[in-house]
């Protein structure tokens, strides 16, 4: 695995009116690593992900992905470059089946137009079959064979999160951003998800940026951690070092005025 830098963020600042959501944040993501972004509520973790994938336009700073400047690009263009993400509040088509949701994820790579697709003829059919094969590999990988034809809206929470991860994988991403993939899960589901995340990195040799609240998870699976507090990066390093960093403890537990 080569450890070259995949994603580079330089002096990023994002303001909503007078509120500084992100202030002068810099970080790099290297190939094949799991980078955790942690911090208290409102620290700017999700904002940072939203800047990276183009939902928010930062006022200052640069985001470079494999050497390409992402600032100013629209979200669908960024997705096409190989940057996929999942959301804190699952964003799936709840009326469609798990399989259909995954198929929807591949449209970005489809070359045939809507009309050809509707007629399901010749090259369009071939293309659909090709993608279905890819998706079946993902279904196998995430062990969701049994729910392939079930409506996503009726699935248990942990399974929906898995389908969402699956959809992100259909983009064949070069980097994956996961926004609280384990929020609201029980211990079993967390264990499964942690295993899938590690397997994704091992199998696809891509880096993962992980926003997570659960410190146990962060300690267990991430290679490095970055801590945000009120839009500022206050620490960066190995999870165990970050965990004992006094600034971080202060941010989480509140500072002592006398010191």
């Amino acid at each position: 695995m080569n450890h070259e830098t995949v994603l580079e963020i330089e002096n990023l600042s994002l303001n909503f009116g007078g509120i500084k959501a992100l202030h002068d944040v810099s970080l790099t993501v290297k190939n094949g690593e799991i980078l955790a972004i942690i911090g208290p509520n409102g620290a700017g973790k999700s904002s940072l992900l939203n800047c990276i994938n183009g939902f928010y336009k930062p006022q200052a700073g640069k985001i470079r992905f494999n050497g390409i400047d992402l600032t100013g690009l629209s979200p669908h263009k960024i997705a096409k470059l190989g940057l996929a993400r999942t959301f804190q509040n699952i964003e799936l088509y709840s009326g469609l089946t798990a399989l259909e949701n995954l198929m929807a994820g591949t449209h970005i790579h489809m070359k045939r137009g809507a009309l050809a697709g509707m007629l399901f003829f010749g090259p369009a059919k071939k293309e659909e079959i090709k993608f279905r094969k890819k998706i079946e590999k993902i279904i196998d990988f995430l062990e969701i064979e049994a729910i392939r034809h079930e409506q996503v809206g009726s699935l248990a929470y942990g399974l929906r999160k898995r389908v969402e991860l699956g959809r992100a994988l259909t983009l064949e991403p070069k980097i994956l951003l996961l926004d609280e993939p384990m929020a609201g899960m029980n211990m079993d589901e967390k264990g499964d998800m942690a295993r899938f995340i590690i397997d994704v990195v091992e199998l696809n040799q891509i880096p993962i940026v992980l926003v997570e609240h659960d410190m146990d998870v962060v300690m267990d699976i991430s290679d490095r951690a970055v801590v945000l507090d009120f839009g500022l990066k206050i620490a960066e390093g190995l999870p165990k070092d970050v965990y004992t960093n006094s600034k971080v403890i202060e941010a989480y537990l509140g500072g002592n005025e006398d010191e």
């Binding site: 279905r132 094969k133 196998d140 211990m187 079993d188």
Partner: protein, 636 residues
């Protein structure tokens, strides 16, 4: 390749190969990545051959044991035949065994090799590797997640194949020689008996046992003539699958493997197999699912189902009494078949079924009748790991309670106490390393089954219960069979498990009920009954009333003195991980009776509630305590 006799599994495998290979026949099919992927006989032979040579190249010797632990997949079959071709013995282990159980099997069988399915199973072996010093290699077939494991003793199937191909170049014809060196009396498989009592014992089954019991059953029930496909999903660690699955393979019947254990019901519908084995539990659960789904469906559908089944069940009744239905009933049945049963059969994947089996536990007559009504003859056979298949109902003579008539290769007699004793051409070769246990069970050529039963005037065997489970009722020396009632209780869609107990000082019978969470939960939802947990739901007055009604209905079908007078609902689900159930999901009666002794006492005292505190183990190994009040209820 011609052998002087065909008395081992690998020899018969090669023989069938020669018979069917030219026709490019499919041997196996597995659903993978959403598609049924076929393997021809040629593919299978290549896999078996090079895997076997690969094992030889790793130093696996004749007579050594290899544990196989995995779901039903072609790889299981290839691994078994490969081990046997190399002269080894297969030890099948259930996939849901915990590491300490796997350790017991490896140590008890003295296995030197483990063939494991995936990361989950490999992790178990790694955990106990230090404690099983004789284990040399672990081979796995699903590499997912195992890419970066660095243990030196781990080999993938592909690696072993390559070793095999290299070995073949250096030692030409060694596969054929190794197969030819096998003998019918060699041990082929160690099948651990499920262990309702004591530690599991490894029953040694010879090649003759495997080949013979599979092929004789195939001949008896005309598999070759009537069957094209079989769905393999009962654990191959179980002697039944060894007999049925490998019997099918050697008969040239296609073996289909489901995608995942959870997708069996979908997959069976896609395949529509002719030959099918469901455990008693599964037949029950299928009929239970239909009933629950029907209760949820529209009024018109419920009407068609209710009245249609009434006619169909009447036809089944006349069939069971060996009468023929009248002309009016015949016309009615034809109509019902076209409008209801055909679709139902299709939904359940039973459209093509020619031979359907069940065994390994009592099956309620209601269930047999239910499926007979849709023209599926469920043959409840009586078989033992130690003695093969002993009795089976003949075609067209399905009777309630009966396990059929003795097979041509077996003899049955009853001891004075009513214990079933059997003799069979296919008897096991003893328990591995436990000669005293063998002597205890096998006396004067008769195998003592420890099952209580009787034989009807026309030779049908009726198995009532385990000898040890015949329980005293009251203090006047009366005995009754709790299982007899439990089976009938389980027919209710709302009852998943039941433990029936006789009182010590009166002739009262009481029951502890494990409600079915899915179905009672659905009932609660559609009736607007709020609940939080299983514990809460089980003690809701509405649910207690529901169960009471179910028991009342069932009471009508059992002899007066065995009827349930008291019951209570379990506050937690019985769980195999807490040793309350065996791995095949039978209740471990003594253990459960001991554990919940205080509830049982409360049952027969005149009390309304009883408070309990139970330690439970969660799936992740953490322990917790449930404190609650259990309601004791009377049936009036």
């Amino acid at each position: 390749m011609v052998f002087s006799s065909y008395d081992t599994m690998p020899k018969c495998f090669l023989k069938t190969y020669q018979e069917v290979h030219a026709k490019k026949k499919i041997a196996m099919r597995v659903k993978d990545e959403g598609i049924w992927q076929p393997y021809t006989w040629y593919d299978c032979l290549q896999k078996v051959k090079f895997l076997s040579l690969g094992l030889a190249s790793l130093g696996f010797m004749r007579g050594e044991k290899a544990v196989i632990i995995g779901e039903n997949k072609p790889e299981w079959y290839w691994a078994e035949l490969a081990v046997q071709s190399a002269g080894g013995v297969v030890v099948g282990v259930f996939t849901d065994c915990i590491p300490s159980e796997v350790k017991y099997y490896i140590l008890d069988s003295e296995a030197t090799l483990v063939i494991a399915h995936d990361q989950e199973q490999v992790d178990k072996i790694i955990e106990i590797k230090e404690e099983v010093p004789n284990l040399r290699q672990v081979i796995y077939w699903d590499e997912k997640g195992l890419w970066n494991y660095e243990e030196k003793y781990l080999y993938s199937f592909e690696t072993v194949f390559e070793l095999g191909i290299k070995f073949e170049k250096e030692n030409p014809d060694s596969f054929e020689k190794s197969v030819a060196a096998g003998n019918g009396s060699d041990i082929a498989v160690l099948c651990y008996t499920s262990g309702t009592t004591g530690n599991p014992k490894g029953a040694m089954l010879s090649h003759q046992w495997l080949v013979g019991s599979g092929m004789s059953l195939a001949e008896l029930d005309k598999w070759k003539e009537e069957c094209k496909g079989y769905l393999s999903f009962i654990p191959p660690a179980w002697a039944t699958e060894q007999c049925l699955g490998f019997g099918c393979l050697l008969s040239g019947i296609e073996i289909n493997f489901p995608e995942e254990p959870e997708t069996v019901q979908q997959n069976v519908r896609e395949i529509g197999p002719e030959l099918l084995f469901y455990s008693a539990r599964l037949w029950e659960s299928v009929s239970r699912t239909i009933q629950a789904k029907m209760a949820d469906s529209s009024r018109l559908r419920r009407f068609i189902y209710r009245n249609g089944m009434r006619i169909a069940l009447r036809v089944a009744d006349t069939k069971m009494l060996n009468n023929s239905p009248g002309p009016l009933l015949k016309i009615g049945y034809w109509l019902v078949f076209q409008t209801l049963l055909r679709q139902l059969r299709d939904r359940l994947g039973l459209s093509n079924v020619a031979v359907a089996y069940s065994a390994g536990g009592a099956l309620s007559p209601e269930i047999i009748k239910y499926f007979l009504a849709m023209q599926v003859e469920v043959k409840l056979f009586y078989g033992l790991t130690e003695a093969g298949i002993i009795s089976i109902p003949p075609k067209g003579d399905i009777r309630p309670e009966s396990s059929g008539v003795p097979t041509p290769w077996a003899k049955i007699k009853l001891s004075e106490e009513g214990e079933i004793l059997v003799k069979s051409k296919y008897l096991f070769s003893g328990y591995y390393n436990k000669p005293e246990a063998t002597e205890k069970k096998l006396r004067n050529g008769w195998f003592h089954t420890e099952d209580f039963g009787h034989i009807t005037d026309d030779g049908h065997l009726i198995v009532i219960d385990r000898m040890q489970d015949m329980k005293p009722l009251g203090n006047k020396g009366k005995k009754f069979s709790p299982q007899y009632i439990e089976v009938r209780l389980r027919f209710s869609p709302f009852i998943k498990d039941a433990l029936v107990i006789g009182a010590k000082d009166s002739e009262n019978v009481g029951g502890l009920i494990n409600i079915d969470l899915d179905n009672t939960g659905r009932f609660a939802e559609s009736n607007g009954i709020p609940y939080t947990t299983f514990t809460d739901l089980s003690q809701r007055p509405e649910i207690i009333e529901l169960i009471a009604q179910e028991i009342k209905a069932i009471n009508k079908t059992v002899p007066g003195e065995f009827r349930l007078k008291k019951f209570a609902n379990f506050h937690k689900e019985l769980d195999a991980d807490e040793a309350e159930l065996t791995r095949t999901r039978k209740i471990r009666r003594d253990y459960v009776e001991g554990r919940y002794g205080d509830i049982i006492n409360a049952l027969f005292e005149n009390r309304k509630t009883h408070s309990v505190e139970t330690k439970i183990t969660y799936r992740d190994g953490k322990e917790g305590v449930i404190k609650t009040n259990i309601h004791i209820n009377s049936i009036i």
